[in-house]
Symmetry: C2
Subunit: 412 residues, 2 copies
Amino acid sequence: MALIVQKFGGTSVASTEKIAAVAKRVIEKHREGNRMVVVLSAMAGETDRLIGMANSMQHIPDLREMDMLISSGEQVSIALFAMAVKAAGYDAVSLLGDQVAIRTDQMHTRARIAAIDVERINTHLEKGKIVVVAGFQGVTDAGDITTLGRGGSDTTAVALAAALKADACEIFTDVEGVFTTDPGVYKKARKIDYISYDEMLELASLGAKVLDIRAVSMAKRFKVPVHVRSTFTNTIGTWVVDEEKIMESMLVSGITYSKKEARITVKKVPDQPGVAAKIFLPISDAGILVDMIIQNTQDGGLTDMTFTVPRSDYERAMQILHKVAADIRAEDVTGDQEITKVSIVGVGMRNHSGIASTMFQIMSKEGINMMMVSTSEIKVSVVIAEKYTELAVRALHDAFALDKDNMPLEVD
Amino acid sequence: MALIVQKFGGTSVASTEKIAAVAKRVIEKHREGNRMVVVLSAMAGETDRLIGMANSMQHIPDLREMDMLISSGEQVSIALFAMAVKAAGYDAVSLLGDQVAIRTDQMHTRARIAAIDVERINTHLEKGKIVVVAGFQGVTDAGDITTLGRGGSDTTAVALAAALKADACEIFTDVEGVFTTDPGVYKKARKIDYISYDEMLELASLGAKVLDIRAVSMAKRFKVPVHVRSTFTNTIGTWVVDEEKIMESMLVSGITYSKKEARITVKKVPDQPGVAAKIFLPISDAGILVDMIIQNTQDGGLTDMTFTVPRSDYERAMQILHKVAADIRAEDVTGDQEITKVSIVGVGMRNHSGIASTMFQIMSKEGINMMMVSTSEIKVSVVIAEKYTELAVRALHDAFALDKDNMPLEVD
């Protein structure tokens, strides 16, 4: 008898019909003798509807009240889900974040889980109930409702699985698992059977939306086996597990890209101590996240400083930097929004040299200019012109033979 | 500096615009130096929308889960309201029933308030905040969310006013106050300035929807002055207060009617001990509330048993009674759904005889047959054919001169 945490996102519980269908799926697992804990998001569209009302109420909505408001979404879905289970003749109980209790810090709208009390859940499980927990929400020590930010329900599920020492945490979503690359870009993209926490972390941080990055990070920390799979089929998805559990690692597991960044260059900056801080401090003060940074030294004590920012912050960043440039006597500030960051990720890189150079060769062969390069232990990212995105992804997918199956194991 | 509890119903907070307008109104009172506690219902239509989803989920929805579901409605309105106050530059905090805490028994969907902890509210009030409390909901000792039933927000407001020892509890609604009769039936109907708790209790139990009967009952018990008034105007409404506070009582304060009842007669029942129980036990077992009961003794040890039931339960009651009639050898069961109960209410009746006979004279003069009569200390009700409703109401309104103003006092 296993203890399984299953998380269903907003599209999986978008209507009463869908909730009933998902409840049936959970009941099947329950009937097989498993103890089931279900984590739900709000019905699709509900959180956005509530945020829309908040924005029309207050220019910058109060964060505590925002959490009070949007946490009502999961309350609706868990109650309806418990009813669906009961309608099918099984016992269930819904629990809010504060009823569990899922304790968080006080950072409203982006709280972090500090501790989870599992007693109440265990008591209900022992009585044979399916326990339905509101995702995305927690409670402070002072009793205020908090939310964990977008994707927070994934984190709730993994945190519960860790606290309950569950055998698995299954994340149900509208895709069949993690793919070697975006199937919309390349039809040869293949579902990955096993991926390590570290690879998943890189993919998530690079924009793969299948699993929230904090959830992966927590799964890694507590070694929670996470199964990412489709709500709408019964096929096995992708297991995100400890590296040691994967018998043979691929050199490259996946290729991902992000079109959400923009590139900015501050030109001919006098190369003096403290000048980098003068550029980046005002940017971070404005809440803008800088990703890649490259500094090229030129002749005459002048340097070009190039970096990427989220495309949505591009205009603001440019405004700030034009002021800064005048201040530090840089020559000019230029920018480019039509860029893409293409990344290859794989734990196999740790033990194999030459992955980056293979990537550069492919780019060169296809005639794609690399504007920036950034590497980590298990990742290489390059910034290229946006128009080459699909070409680059397909060429790299072929070059690293990602369409070949790597894991013959069966699970579930 | 007064402490005032103000309650706004669903129509008063039906949109973000209306919430902003109501918030302005509360802020005005706050700026005058009053400490303000606001109790809100869910946005109009929201509770029904949620109940609709529950009904499509489970044939008879689980009551605990129903409370989990529908209590989310008030959560939305209080958060938006607090944002509206903050948007206007004042401080506010929203509190759920369990955050206050409003402790109730475990009777889900119709819980009763057992105790209210005022410490958290008082702490926020002392900091100059407008405290916004979710109406209609509470929490059990075990931490489960409960709701108080329809009209429960009125009860929340009065209970909070009692616990906080507030100077007044103002119930804002879509009418201007309590009227001598339904203005839709008789245009001479006049708004009552002062009415006693007992009169309001009778009017509420007789179907006047302006104030929930449990709220009135609690107001009476804790002597909370309740001001029923319109959200949409600034005029003074009706004060529901202790009888002693009303300088001169009217013989009759108001006339009300209910078209929601049906009359049933079980004919020629053998007049033996226990026969009444045999008739009424199966009815009450079926959850049907019997209101008026009349027993006429006839010759030969046979009796006719006549009583009223809610019209919505009429068919079920008739089915049950046909079986019972066969059982107890009664001759027949007849019924009539086209009836109205017309009632006159007034504490003045306590000290004046002849109110009932005046009522009967008026009925007779208008040629209206009275099928049943029932009296209490401050009320006389008669059942008549439905088609005479308006005629009876107008004639009684004139006879008791209810269009004349009775209270020259000024308040607020």
